[in-house]
Symmetry: C2
Amino acid sequence: MNDKQQLTMKDIARELGVSVATVSRALSDSPSISKERRQAIQQFAREHNYFPNVIAEQLRHSRRNPSRAIGVIVPELVHYYFSSILDGIESEASARGYHILVAKSNESYQREVQICESMLKNKVCGIIVSQAKDTERYDHFEHLEQAGVPLVFYDRICPALNASRVVVDDYMGTLNAVSHLIETGCKRVAFFGASMNMIIAKNRFNGYRDALYKHGLTLDESLVRICDNRADAERITPAMMRMENRPDAFFAVNDETAIGILTVVKRLGYNVPDEVSICGFTNGFRATVCDPMLTTVEQRGTQVGKEAADILIGLVEGTLPADHAEKRIVKTRLVIRGTTRHP
Amino acid sequence: MNDKQQLTMKDIARELGVSVATVSRALSDSPSISKERRQAIQQFAREHNYFPNVIAEQLRHSRRNPSRAIGVIVPELVHYYFSSILDGIESEASARGYHILVAKSNESYQREVQICESMLKNKVCGIIVSQAKDTERYDHFEHLEQAGVPLVFYDRICPALNASRVVVDDYMGTLNAVSHLIETGCKRVAFFGASMNMIIAKNRFNGYRDALYKHGLTLDESLVRICDNRADAERITPAMMRMENRPDAFFAVNDETAIGILTVVKRLGYNVPDEVSICGFTNGFRATVCDPMLTTVEQRGTQVGKEAADILIGLVEGTLPADHAEKRIVKTRLVIRGTTRHP
DNA sequence: TAAATAAATGCAATCGTTTGCGTAGTTCGA
DNA sequence: TCGAACTACGCAAACGATTGCATTTATTTA
């Protein structure tokens, strides 16, 4: 039952009394084989549902043709944004005849290096990656490039490498969101962001700062906190709301954090959005579950994934020059719901 | 820059003036090669960081050794439960030296067939799959088995095939949850489930029914609805709450549906959990976001994924007999939060 | 000292395909 | 009627690794 041997060209050749070369040519419809033979061979192959051994094909072509396997490295899997991106990559890849090999770095540099090695060994044609949080050396990525494996970054970009990348427009997304808060009457907007050594964190902060300036407000350091998860948000927010000059709005770098803020603010008895407005970033599952529903910046992970796959495939197929670093920015969209006032 | 040619055994052999066979043996530490040569070759390989070409290895061994690639077919990717399962599979697989190849069926039978073919071609050593909703023919799965590719089902089981599988204990999970509702004082528990042609739907319904019987309640058909998403829940619930003999509790087959119910019930002005209790199934991101937080049955996707990978690897490595269908059931856990009363 | 034994290495086939080149057999023009 | 030009195929060498068997050389034994 197990190991039903695959039908090979050799089998067909033996059966039909021709050489393997003839079978190969016939199956690739080469005109150098007579029409009758060609059809006979093709029919035989069809009837015995022959299909070529990809491994052998690859070995034969290894010097010229890349495989059709795309490696995807994800920091986490149980995560709305990363799931969306994976979804986008899968769609684009499969539509263009590629398949994907997925590995999770678990935010570990060590693991990331292992994965790169393993993917290199397994001859992926390229890799799409978001760095682990604790990655600070980039040799493993450079090795890949040297080995001729193109690299595309998404979300967490490697700043030291001039590699292709696709990111979300964090700056404009934040700028628009904070502008929305101000334009609906908020005067003191707090900012909960991630640690500034990540570029995306910096961009979002800049968007926040510039939105304030644009509307003639000044930046108050006491309203800026490093906080990117719910637990921290629930810990930090109460003190903030007790400030003599409390914020009347919060912008958080992700929905999870925003939900934490919302929970606390509601518990303290404030009306959302009238007394306190809140805006998140992601627009994941959570955003429509909380009460009121969360105003947030739609991050369009699926689109990010598609673009990343598109770049990679372009690089692999030579549509994009190998030495050029393609950089794309996916526009965000502000989704206004119940945690902010309407314009 | 591109295509830095891989270092091969032939290169080493040429460089060191020995035959390829000797290099091969030396690298596999065969005692039939003299110690000095062995070490010289190994050192050379290390210094020029040689690594074997997996493709060639595979081709050579194809008749005996399976690859180390596990195919995973998922109906959707942006979905809490499936993400968790994928996470579990990835963890177990990578811990045991396997990598995974992920494809999304998009709930389409057509696509599922294509994926199976593609994975067969790409020589995965086995496949872990949850059927698409509209899959009703199983030839593609049977082909795989015939080709010697072991199959493990999760979540949506193929009833017609006696294949290995791992499922969550839907029956007991539901029975416990509904018992909890009754034991905290609910008399009229409504059931929102999926269409009964899916086994998991049937099992959950049976759990519901038996919980009622166990507590001396009778089954009221008017309290049972086919509804497994939020939109439908929001459409159906209002009418239900207007019934002369309205339900005082709801059990929903997933968190999403439960949230829909919760939204409506709150909007209608009922107190949750005192006037109406609600229980979901999944324990995903949503459960801790709504207000009050959702009581729900923890589905333990990660565990399901791990078990599935464990079975598959067992089948591949021969630890489990190839003809035996291993069936595992992952225990659920009731997580009591704010949408039900406490015992 | 010759023959037997052991140790270290190479040869060549193999896995399933592809492909450059060579060569029968046919056809055609002069 | 003879060489040229096709046509339709086969041979054999790759791709990169493994492995049974043969071969060489060194060592031991009778």
